[in-house]
Symmetry: C2
């Protein structure tokens, strides 16, 4: 729906979202990050886009592939976007898999293996890249690869014991929010590109439903007004540092994944839960003193173990800008407009580099830039351009 | 030697070191951390010493055991110090080893396994604890356990392939400073307690010499005026984030380990290298704008990948207080007095909790406390009481 808030800010928000995406963020990574020699994308860039490290993030071969293929398929058929997406997925296909098929976490510029990690987020990001390239090109190879990568993700994440847990499960069995959220958004993104395919014995819609059920059933605690990051196998709250650790930006990201699913199936109860998640985690994460979202807080207000908990990172703000805008557009409720104004304005006052483009990633609590990095193994063309694209779509009623 | 600086500040420094140790830091952890129910020590404490998490750090069973046994053996035969040390080493012995003998990283309060990690620092800290308890008690069991734990450390750290490296060694073979530094200080501490025993075919003095040779030969770069944290197997500088990463407090800690060894063997060349290491890393790490030591800096002044690089942690300041005091007392050079004054005064102006005792651990760049934590898996009775004890000894000419 449109609202007085959306009407009043529409032009300004389109400038930040649509124009920021098309004229700043998408070109920044094409200009500075695309590896025209070896293929794929380099993300370790300094303020002016200068290359700081030639090692490649495997996550970002998938994430950038998704971003540019989605721009090509849903915004405009610009050849440079398709070329970038193809460069990333071909680099993934040709250089990022170990002999057993599992994807590395990082490789050299030429594609030689550096790090393998236990978990399978490289696979989930590869799956959405392959799927988006299939949507862009119609080529069957990328559809097959997308489904295979998602099947690998499912095999590792859903079969107990496939990934050795950090903490001995005989002493303290645990479930984490992150893999369930990634299950949800990967199933959603694949469905957008491939239709409601069947993988691992379930449709993508059924995988999304399972993930929603687990998020609501295990991690959402209405009585505590919190979304937990780690619980016991039955949703038990562990009164330890890790069990009390809240990541407001992460839970707010989960909220808009759920809201998107709730809108698709017309589930008003699930939509209300998604809005509640946003409400709870906004209350806990918004820094009333300095503005912005704190990275970590403790469920009981105790000190957290992570010593950089007070920092303001770019991506929780991207996720909160999406979630608050979508919550307001969906519900028309004024308080989500107020939240959106707060987080949009704080983020745009502190993160963008007005001189050299794109956003800084890491601010201190007061909002001062602590490093000139534009990218690294974790920051590249994903959270910010996704936020710009999704928010532009929300403003146009496409969500 | 004594110097005008040391004479002028002696009373004040003794108050901070000797009295701080005896009347504040040592009692703080006995009062709040010692687990009178299950044995060992709890380090996850809040500002007032309240327990935030019952999980136990295996590192700290060894580190606290070393601290209290060393106090008992070298300061005064206080029964509560021996009891604390014995509680820690018995907890280590009875609850912290996996079936294959390798030590965990963390266990529950009762001693059930939580996390196993690849590396063997739990073993090195256990070794110094057992050795110090042997010195305190004369009991043969603890000598045997100390040598066995050190042998385990050596087996994992010195035999290639025993610990799977993070980065594929076929692509980028690497050596880290940390395990070599720990080899040096563990050999030194064991020798203090057990005499010059033979382990793994070498005397402790020979292990210390080997570690000194590797630190000087591989990690010290006079032409760059830097001590690196990670190099290639022949000391190659890797022009990547990890290869350029400097940890000034860590390298300054290595400097005083080397100076101690140089003084023992009357090696003026090694002593000069140790002082050079301090000079280089002080230049790189001291924050001329806000004071204190930055946690990470880049060899070439580029942005570092670790986003909390600008923070001021307690332990680099402990190590720099030792290194600068020892460098000044050893050499009589004025510039080390100036460095000592700078780091001692900045640290004592910002870290101590004047109301509830002990030190805060984590400050922002301006020196403001970012968390009220007094301890966690990495902070407990070790760096601060060791600094107080070593500096007290330096003031008394015992070093």
């Amino acid at each position: 729906m449109t609202t007085p808030y959306l009407r009043a800010r529409r032009a300004e928000l389109l400038r930040d979202y649509r124009d920021g995406l098309l004229h700043d963020v998408a070109p920044f990574w094409l200009r500075h990050g695309l590896d025209r020699e070896h293929g794929g994308i380099l993300t370790a860039l300094g303020r002016r886009g200068e290359l700081l490290d030639t090692d490649k993030s495997v996550w970002f071969q998938g994430r950038a592939g998704w971003t540019y293929a989605t721009l090509y398929a849903t915004v405009e058929r610009r050849p440079e976007w398709l070329a970038a997406a193809l460069s990333c997925v071909r680099f993934l296909r040709d250089h990022c898999a170990a002999p057993d098929g599992k994807l590395y976490f990082s490789v050299t510029r030429e594609g030689r293996p550096l790090r393998m990690r236990r978990y399978v987020f490289s696979e989930s990001f590869a799956a959405i890249a392959y799927a988006a390239v299939h949507r862009a090109t119609g080529e069957a190879e990328w559809r097959d690869r997308a489904l295979a990568a998602f099947a690998t993700y499912l095999r590792h994440e859903r079969e107990p014991g496939r990934i050795a847990p950090k903490v001995d499960p005989a002493t303290r069995p645990a479930r984490g929010l992150a893999p369930v959220m990634i299950l949800l958004v990967t199933a959603q993104d694949l469905r957008d590109c491939l239709g409601d395919a069947v993988v691992g014995g379930r449709t993508l819609t059924d995988w999304a439903a399972l993930a929603c059920d687990e998020i609501v059933g295990l991690f959402c605690k209405p009585e505590l007004r919190a979304v937990l990051e780690q619980v016991g196998p039955g949703g038990e709250v562990y009164d330890h540092f890790d069990g009390r650790l809240l990541n407001p930006g992460h839970a707010i990201e989960a909220a808009w994944f759920l809201l998107r699913e709730a809108r698709r199936r017309g589930d008003r109860g699930l939509a209300r839960t998604a809005l509640d998640m946003l409400d709870w985690m906004w209350e806990r994460g918004w820094d009333r003193e300095h503005g912005g979202l704190l990275y970590f807080v403790d469920l009981l207000g105790k000190p957290v173990q992570e010593y950089w908990h007070f920092m303001k990172f770019w991506w929780p703000h991207n996720e909160a800008i999406i979630a608050t805008l979508m919550a307001h557009a969906h519900s028309g409720e004024e308080r989500y407009a107020a939240m959106h104004r707060a987080v949009h304005d704080w983020a745009h006052a502190h993160f963008p580099d007005r001189e050299h483009g794109e956003w800084f990633g890491y601010l201190d609590r007061e909002g001062r830039v602590t490093t000139e990095l534009k990218g690294n193994l974790w920051k590249g063309p994903f959270h910010l351009p996704r936020q710009q694209l999704v928010c532009w779509n929300v403003l146009e009623g496409r969500y």
